[in-house]
């Protein structure tokens, strides 16, 4: 018994420790205050032009490194550097898309730096930290980066970002979220720190139902909602409930368990026992394929209006068993921005930069990564123009500034306590590289149109 027990412990120990993830920090940066002559770059009403630039943590007079994580920064060696943090998920549920998000963000700043940077500064994202989509690790990674960066290029996940908000508040750390929670548009929730971009799940939910009722040749009377509680599911469900009430649609069921407890069998069971005309999933791609496939096996193919994170272009790639189902015309996906192939200046720039880097994918997560940085760039430009690149200066700039995105999203005035209300509606299509064909650009349904967006977050 004893040797067996010992062997068992040894084998367990080896397995456990080989798997044990241990985070670490990146090299320290020296921070120096500099005084620079301002170059006018942004026509913003929010700030006044100052004659010198005050800098703080995460902004150096020394140039940015030539490359970070193997990706060139495109930094000008004669300019200073603004460092941005990155809280990414390399080992959790979004591990599959983390590289695309990161590549697009680094590509964005490669382009932005080449195009002139932020006045006398280039921008570099530090080496990404792995949060595993876990709030606790998110906080640990944030702690390891907080003394090195001026702002966050990405904070992935709604509950994760909410978890570090108090610390961000203490540090006056502004950051771009990789989540579309309606609360990001309201100071009562984000304390003016989260630089949101695109419409929230709530508006997407309203538009999804309105558009389905108006545009699909199916008589929708009853619907079901599924998603992750505490995460984007609540915001999405709140939007759909508002639209359902307005349109007199019956919500037959709502399945919103915590992310880790989402049970595919239970979700499919609901679809079988309480059949609906359309269902609205806000889950991960893995659960989406399992739920859609499971329902299909039971002979059910109701209309599915998928929230952005539910859809993956892999669903319509050759060889995927459910390709025909996803292309059957019963499935639609929501987004806050047009797919990869769209014809805006921003999309063209993105494609050219990624092609230059040798990226061959057309994933929607590349578009997500790229689009996430525009508003942050606008905020940094405003802070520079205001002569204050300290974190407090950046926070002030984020509280009241017009930001634009070369046509990718609506021009937006940040800090106005009002969320965007337009959505992009796509249909899965394997003949297009991004796997999504745009059906309705910048769609605003009657519910989202009449909803009082100044009333605060939906959930």
């Amino acid at each position: 018994m004893k040797p067996l027990r010992k062997q068992g412990i040894i084998i367990f120990s080896i397995l456990a420790l080989v798997l044990a993830a241990c985070g670490g920090g990146t090299a320290e940066e020296t921070v120096e205050a500099t005084s620079e002559t301002v170059v006018e770059t942004l026509d913003s009403p929010a700030v006044t032009t100052a004659s010198s630039v005050k800098t703080g943590v995460g902004v150096t007079a020394e140039p940015c490194p030539e490359a970070v994580g193997g990706v060139p920064t495109g930094a000008d060696p004669t300019k200073g550097c603004i460092y941005l943090g990155m809280l990414n998920d390399y080992t959790g549920p979004y591990a599959a898309v983390a590289p695309a998000l990161e590549t697009a963000q680094r590509a964005f700043w490669l382009w932005a730096n080449t195009a002139g940077g932020i006045g006398e500064y280039s921008v570099a994202i530090v080496e990404g930290g792995d949060t595993s989509y876990n709030p606790q690790k998110h906080l640990e990674v944030y702690n390891s980066q907080r003394d090195k960066v001026a702002a966050l290029a990405m904070s992935l996940g709604t509950p994760q970002t909410l978890f570090i908000l108090d610390e961000m508040d203490k540090d006056s750390m502004v950051g771009a979220p990789m989540s579309w929670y309606s609360g990001w548009s309201y100071k009562s929730v984000d304390k003016g720190l989260v630089v949101e971009f695109g419409s929230a799940y709530c508006a997407d939910g309203m538009n999804a139902l309105d558009w389905a009722l108006a545009s699909l040749p199916v008589d929708i009377k009853t619907i079901g909602i599924m998603g992750f509680a505490g995460d984007y599911g609540n915001d999405w469900a709140a939007g759909i409930q508002v639209a359902a009430a307005k349109n007199g649609i019956e919500v037959a069921w709502e399945y919103l368990p915590p992310t880790l407890e989402f049970d595919v069998a239970q979700a499919v069971g609901l679809m079988v026992t309480k059949p609906v005309d359309a269902y609205f999933p806000a889950v991960g791609p893995t659960q989406m394929a399992q739920v859609a496939g499971g329902a299909f096996q039971q002979g059910l193919t109701p209309i599915a209006m998928m929230a952005a994170p539910s859809y993956n272009d892999a669903f319509v790639k050759e060889g995927f068993p459910l390709k025909a189902l996803f292309e059957s015309g019963a499935m639609y996906s929501m987004a806050w921005v047009a797919p990869y192939e769209a014809d805006t200046t921003a999309h063209q720039t993105m494609r050219a930069t990624l092609a230059q880097m040798g990226v061959e994918s057309a994933s929607s997560f590349l578009v997500a990564g790229w689009s996430s940085q525009y508003h942050l760039k606008g905020v940094l430009e405003a802070a520079y123009k205001g002569g204050d690149l300290t974190r407090e200066g950046i926070r002030r700039a984020a509280a009241n500034v017009y930001v634009e995105s070369d046509g990718m999203m609506q021009t937006r005035e940040l800090g106005q306590n009002r969320a965007d209300n337009d959505s992009y509606i796509n249909i899965p299509d394997g003949s297009i590289a991004s796997g999504a064909r745009l059906l309705a650009p910048s769609y605003v349904g009657p519910t989202a149109e009449s909803y009082d967006w100044t009333s605060g977050p939906c959930a």
């Binding site: 420790l17 080989v18 985070g23 990146t26 709030p135 906080l139 505490g230």
Partner: protein, 367 residues
């Protein structure tokens, strides 16, 4: 008896916590060195060392029940979790979805240990009836029960995937967050937590050493070596197995309540099977049934990843375009180290220390 350190003329001296002058000098030197680290080490290393001290405390707990008393426990992480959430509820801030009473650390720290200890006592009756792999399986079941409860008692833990903030570190009204000024030197929260963890680590370490030289410690050893024989010579198995579990859980609770205040937040998924197994590994790597072993193991476990990271970062462009990221390389190296250790030094790090010490003791006649 100068010059003859191994000659004891009375039992009291032989069983003293620090029985030789060399030990006393080393002890004082290590404390001074550890305090000095506050002013020398970077924030990153301070963080790792603080974690190491607290993990050492938790590992001592496991070593008491498994190393000294020979009762296998795979659920040690659950008791760490119980300590964490007791501390978080009593000392944390209430929000819309979790409770928190913002009490002083002087209240929540001992209560975290005591509450974990109480729950440890609850499984003691099982421990008395079972042993070996069977006991291991029961404690394994405890991991799953614990995980489920942690994930679902949302009012206390925040729930799976969401988590909650830990206790605010306030001692006698003094907020660690505010920092502390000594002349021109400002000690920040991390540094204060480091010093406090060091103090807790020293006290708990002395406590463990004290157990080994007491009647209780000898009873544990007897039970470990042969429980039937122990019972035959009059050792009350129920009493001592229960006390081993209670004491072990107390250490886990104390460590748990402080461990996550370093980062400030905790998510229930942390306290899974892997987490509990980590403590088993630390005790084995450090040296089972020794006093210094778990400390060595905890330092090894906490500091090696940092060391590997530093080496990887110092090698410029290392790993660029390589299939593995620096984090993955770190994990592979870490795993390899453990395998090498287990094959070549099964007595753990303490075994190496023991041979090294004997080599110098016997010098110049070492062999």
């Amino acid at each position: 008896m100068r010059g003859r350190p191994n000659l004891y003329i009375n039992y009291k001296k032989e069983t003293a916590i620090l029985s030789t002058n060399t030990q006393k000098i080393w002890f004082v030197f290590m404390i001074v060195f550890s305090i000095a680290m506050v002013f020398i080490a970077t924030d990153y290393w301070i963080l790792l060392l603080t974690t190491a001290f607290l993990i050492a405390v938790a590992s001592w707990g496991l070593n008491i029940v498994s190393g000294f008393a020979g009762q296998i426990s795979l659920a040690h992480g659950v008791f760490v979790g119980i300590g964490t959430y007791t501390g978080a509820v009593l000392g944390g801030v209430a929000t819309d979805y979790v409770v928190g009473y913002e009490l002083d650390m002087i209240i929540w720290l001992p209560l975290s240990g005591l509450f974990a200890s109480l729950l440890g006592l609850l499984i003691a009756p099982i421990a008395v009836r079972l042993k070996g792999l069977n006991l291991g399986l029961v404690t394994l079941a405890l991991v799953f029960i614990g995980s489920h409860l942690f994930s679902n008692l949302k009012t206390f833990t925040g729930g799976a995937g969401l988590g909650r903030k830990t206790a605010k570190v306030v001692l006698f009204g003094f907020q660690f967050d505010d920092g502390f000024n000594i002349g021109n030197v400002i000690l920040e929260k991390n540094q204060l937590l480091y010093l406090f963890s060091l103090l807790v680590c020293i006290l708990c370490g002395l406590g463990v050493k004290n157990i080994t030289r007491s009647k209780t410690g000898r009873a544990y050893s007897a039970i470990r070596d042969r429980d039937i024989a122990a019972e035959a010579i009059g050792i009350n198995l129920f009493k001592f197995k229960s006390s081993a579990f209670a004491l072990s859980s107390f250490y886990a609770g104390i460590a748990g309540s402080l461990l996550f205040t370093v980062s400030g937040g905790v998510e229930p998924g942390t306290f899974n099977l892997l987490y509990s197994i980590t403590f088993v590994a630390i005790v084995i790597i450090g040296g089972v049934g020794t006093v210094l072993g778990p400390l060595f193991g905890a330092l090894f476990f906490s500091l090696l990843p940092g060391t590997i990271q530093t080496v990887i970062h110092s090698l410029e462009n290392f790993g660029q375009g390589f299939a593995l990221s620096s984090g993955q390389i770190e994990r592979v190296i870490f795993g390899l180290f453990i395998i090498i250790f287990l094959i070549f030094e099964p007595r753990g790090l303490w075994g190496i220390w023991f041979r090294l010490r004997n080599y110098f003791k016997a010098w110049p006649f070492s062999y």
